[in-house]
Symmetry: D2
Subunit: 292 residues, 4 copies
């Protein structure tokens, strides 16, 4: 069973190319943290701006440059079923521990519960790897309902879900109605503790890129029954989490990495880089959260 | 400080009039439960369908027919500031422990953070009673932001908030940034435990009308550090809670009360009563939740 | 059949009371315009901030202070069926030509198509007057579907609809599938011409308060087949219309009235008055639209 | 200046491959209609399910298999600026008359007006072809504001917009505030006439695939000042238009093509094919609209 805290790592760019040196540097730093592993090609990885060829190279690079003690989950969801199957198989061949598969979403009107179930079952049938469903309504404009997730949980290759909806009732419904070995992950550091309280067993958290130890410590405190301690850490995470997600986005996350000694690198166009005011604001936030 | 579990009681009707006999019967039954108290004229009380005169009568009746050991919170929010002040003062005169005041919302475009702050401060300045803010986006079509709540929390008469948004991050932000004696209440039984986990101290829960003991027990387990027990009860609450809120609404809540020996009474038009199929479905749900 | 251009007049306040002198002054001015009539207690009339008693007084006052040549439509929708019937009957007794009845909306989840149909039929059955349905999703948070409208159009007392949704396809569907004497009105000056193009026969337009002649002229040009002229006037209306609706709201409309020699009066709390910057901006907009 | 009625053609599939024989057949049929041209790789073309290689082949095939008298617009928007530029250049090299470029949208929070302006300017600067902006909120979950469009309209390579929002006020604002040679196109047959009324000069309409003559006739009637005739045709288009867009989607459009003698072909997974009930319903709709 998959469990623990994963960082959905950003992809550093330089002059519109992937900056593998910067990435190597970052992976070495994350390897020294208590993180369970990383997600490559999650939303924070700007996967939507990468070609299929770049995606495969990136997965391979990350797996090769992380010690075996760290797990790697690859984001392999594409719009079409065929492309998703192809990329998921490659990720498995490259040694990834699981694939995180986003709901296809461009044709929202056509993505009924029935279509989504068929999609995930087709992919799970075709790939010998563990699949985590990925629900990301803020980007996809589409919610994966708890009923659909509960139905899919019975497939032997579908091992869990990363739910980034922030809908804690939906997360509770999934926890309450899926087998014990179905792994529910919080999709953001802002609702890690409440997710654990209703039955989640891990998280894939943008803020874990910059505060890995705090995220892991929060989960440990919870598991040890220290609720007051866990609550304090949850409160501490709120502001930096918002800074590197809803407020300043991936550009903000990369700026935060630069500030704490990683190499965030550039974003790819059409995304815009963080301006100096934003960078200065992020510094203040990281100070208040005792990250720097 | 206000804390504990409250039931936002429905208003039973008979031939379009308030059925005070039915209500008296129900109040006697709730008085025997471990509930901290009740909310009269919450959304579940069909306040929007009552005249101002009926509202005052109803508040008086509920206060008189509950023992002093049970607290009464009155829903006194109206669209205009003047009417809200008038009704809030009457509720205080009638002995209510606090007023629950909904965001005015018809003119959504005009209800900026600034307007909402002025509104709540005007009311709190004019009334000598404890005020709980009431955030109910599903009905009001308007969210009371955490920044606005945090700013209002410094007013000495503003004692807390009932947040029915289900936005657990917002609830956490409010808990993290308001004084310790500012009471944050979960607005639905579906997210009671996660709210407690991030710092809430109570709940105003439709499902507490029909499962008061379970709701109180969940909170007790949480306070005693029995997280596994609290989680089981939270999972148990999910289905009956949905049945008496989002799924079948107030008509469903009234049907559930009828089933368990209370007197739900009729709804007022234009609301439609629960049909026989819905009633039968609710019975099944109550059986699965071991209520009957 | 109701047709033509109506102004949904604002209610001037002074120290939280209705300023009848200001209103009388305004009515005398509107009487001299080519408007077909006015709507009293529309959304722009701040009806949500008025007591039932004030509403009846206001309807009576407006009817008495306008010449018989001008029609009066009264906004009489309340949340409960009983109150709506009561107020609609009073408006008919007071000589109004029709009642404009908003969808009840607080309990959004309960306001199914079936509930809304029952509501409007109950009201239409109980009142001997012409009823116009009022669809105002921006404020009500609820849309009255074209299917529901088409079904209701067969009721002999239901004479038309004011659709403020701006959903031009829905307006076209209603025009295409209702009897010829069912009056479809544009609910905003920003989509008057496109509504006429698909079959509307009038409008209830906030901007008609300040530019009555232009609104009427647009409709005349359209009826005469002068599409180029109608289009120019439609383009002219866009900016001032936005200023007195979505952008600056009722406070903006009142400021605009003050600027052009009417008496806008104060707004009622919790609405906030227009600041000096907004007033100055509105002046510029009115200049660009050649109103002043 | 681009003007006229275009059909955004679907891509027929067979066993997950593009069925070029079916497409060739269809192109020959469309060539005989009064359509101005076609859009290849619009939303209806399932572009999101095609690889970059397939996209280029498809553009080439369509251009080669249509007579020069018919214009071809290619949908070339990708998420990243680099990929969009690359594909747009290829489309121009292959002889397309213009490129239709969708708003990038996966990272909605980052796609500010500023980012979108930079994106379209970067693409327009890098490509020697006419660019039509493509606003498709229903699929993209993102609206291209009238202010942004008005600002972009001054770029010499940005020749127009296809607005599928259905927001007729926005369409009017764009028509009112852009140069006369900036082409505004209705993005759906359900609001073609109202768009023409406020200043549009064409349409890219799913329903034009199956009712090309009616769509062209509507525009001709409007241009000749026959408003009553144009209105009748607009009303006629409503139901079949809905059937092949919001109601039954691309699968419905393909089924309709099959019914009228074209070769719709299969949809690509995860999209689901139209079931027999849907096909039978579409037949009834096409009969009522006198298509068959």
């Amino acid at each position: 069973m998959i469990r623990g805290i994963f960082a959905p790592i950003p992809t550093p760019f330089k002059d519109d190319n992937i900056d593998y040196n910067a990435l190597k540097n970052n992976l070495a730093l994350w390897a020294e943290t208590p993180l369970t592993g990383v997600v490559v090609l999650g939303s924070n990885g700007e996967f939507a701006y990468l070609t299929q060829k770049e995606k495969v190279q990136l997965i391979a690079f990350v797996r090769e440059n992380l010690p075996d003690s760290k797990q790697v989950i690859a984001g392999t969801g594409c719009e079409s079923t065929i492309e998703t199957i192809e990329l998921t198989r490659k990720a498995a061949d490259l040694g990834c521990d699981a694939s995180l598969i986003l709901t296809p979403h461009y044709y929202k009107g056509a993505m009924s519960d029935k279509a989504l179930k068929s999609y995930f079952r087709d992919v799970a049938d075709a790939c010998e790897t563990r699949i985590m469903l990925y629900n990301m309504p803020r980007n996809a404009g589409l919610n994966l309902s708890s009923d659909t997730v509960i139905s899919l949980a019975s497939h032997q290759n579908i091992a869990g879900i990363k739910d980034s909806s922030g809908n804690i009732v939906q997360i509770a419904e999934i926890c309450a109605n899926t087998p014990d070995d179905f792994a529910v992950f919080a999709g953001s550091g802002s609702f890690l503790l409440p997710s654990l309280a209703v039955g989640a067993v891990g998280g894939t958290l943008a803020v874990a890129n910059i505060m890995p130890a705090v995220c892991v410590e929060l989960m440990n405190r919870f598991n040890e029954g220290d609720l007051t301690g866990a609550k304090k850490l949850q409160h501490l995470l709120l502001e930096p989490n918002k800074a590197v997600t809803a407020k300043y986005g991936i550009a903000g996350l990369k700026a935060a990495l630069d500030i704490i000694g990683y190499k965030g690198g550039e974003v790819r166009r059409p995304m815009l880089p963080a301006g100096t005011e934003v960078i200065s604001e992020i510094k203040q936030i990281l100070k208040r959260a005792q990250v720097i």
